[in-house]
Symmetry: C2
Subunit: 237 residues, 2 copies
DNA sequence: TAGTGGTCTAGACCACTAA
DNA sequence: TAGTGGTCTAGACCACTAC
């Protein structure tokens, strides 16, 4: 059994998706929801807070919780997103090719990025993502062996995240992304269909676990014409 | 007088900056903070929640609130950031040139982006940002006149955000960003020092007010070599 | 077992909106 | 004025960590 407020949140997301509540109208008041879910007001408020954070509603003091038209801004699955989730939001059917999946001694650069000790080993995974038979994205993943002792090409073919969170029961807590534009490397040129593009958009992703330890560094290298990043940010509180 | 929990939050941020609390150690327990600030536990927890959301701490059940080493990831002023704030985080001294600041009938594209009626007017502001005497960024802002009735070159020279939030007392609530890479337009070529770059990184920014109304659309067009976007994302809850 | 954070409650008072 | 959301309280019980 999950948290009560999370159940209420999920329930209301479902109602919103089923259009029981529609954009530009107000949700039932917190008092009404209290009665409806037979719970306290603070618990209702936690659920509403989640809805607000995820862009479903906007709370307006004195008025109520306004349902936002999420379809207006084709909503980002912002923040911590794996390729698999990302692909589900696209029309095209992407394919993944695993070029490498090896346990190894990290380069100085990677050891530095992952803040590892000299004896620590890492898994290096290199994959390309293709759309319409064009290799568009080159993903290079580095995972600290101390957190992920075992990995296979099959897992990399599917979803590393699903494996890490499902099988290994590690919980991802936060991530830092950095987006820059670089010149293509030799590897980019050999593994991607660059078609004369002079730049590569690089998303550097640092993924942290529940105890604030850094366990993964990923570079996602995109052909610029197919790159699109969407972000939804809410003011604090 | 502000909220009690916000005061506690600010107080603790200050303590963290003054290194009273240091990375990889734990904050005082919620019970201790309760006594220290003479308040209830839920209020302490709201303050800690803010700290967590802003990447200062990581709460670990059964153990405490771990102070995160923010210096490790040169911290983003993530999300809703105006150029002025951004510039403060850079070593270089940037200059702003206002090329245009006019009230006008919007193009179809802008009317569409801002979801305006046919009679609505907008303010169009065009500015370039220079670093080391190179014009690196082209900012094109469109503000609905119904929210911002008045604007001048002087305001645009300084900070539109400061004016909107300070003078007009409008509160910005959330924003959606979209980052793509485009071919330079004629305007890009004439107003920026492109130095042979073939691409422009475009940040499309949709800014919403407290009542979830869209009041500003901005395109921030960056020379790719100087572009860098940082994002910090926390899992929900 | 003691101490930590996570959830939940029932109630209070306040600030804002709208009629 | 009635109804809304925002803040704050004092207490309860639970789940987890460390000893």
């Amino acid at each position: 059994m999950r948290n009560k407020y999370f159940i209420i949140y999920q329930d209301m997301v479902e109602q919103l998706n089923k259009a029981k509540y529609v954009p530009n109208e107000y949700l039932p008041s917190e008092h009404e929801l209290m009665e409806q879910f037979q719970t306290s007001r603070e618990t209702v408020r936690k659920a509403l807070h989640l809805l607000a954070q995820n862009g479903y509603i906007q709370k307006i003091r004195g008025k109520g919780s306004l349902v936002i038209d999420r379809s207006k801004f084709d909503f980002p699955v912002s923040g911590l997103v794996s390729f698999k989730e990302l692909a589900e939001n696209l029309d095209q059917t992407p394919t993944t090719t695993v070029h490498q999946c090896e346990r190894m001694t990290p380069s100085d650069f990677v050891r530095d990025q992952l803040r590892l000790a000299y004896t620590d080993q890492v898994w290096e995974v290199v994959r390309t993502r293709s759309f319409d038979n064009s290799r568009i994205i080159l993903d290079k993943d580095y995972l600290a062996e101390k957190y992920v002792p075992y990995l296979t090409k099959d897992i990399a073919q599917d979803s590393i995240y699903a494996y890490v969170e499902g099988e290994l029961e590690l919980t991802i807590s936060f991530a830092k992304k950095e987006i820059v534009v670089e010149e293509p490397t030799k590897e980019d040129r050999s593994l991607l269909d660059l078609e004369g593009f002079h730049n590569i958009v690089v998303i550097k992703n640092y993924v942290y676990l529940e105890d604030a330890s850094l366990f993964q560094y990923t570079e996602s290298r995109h052909r610029p014409d197919k790159f699109r990043f969407v972000d939804f940010a809410r003011r604090n509180q």
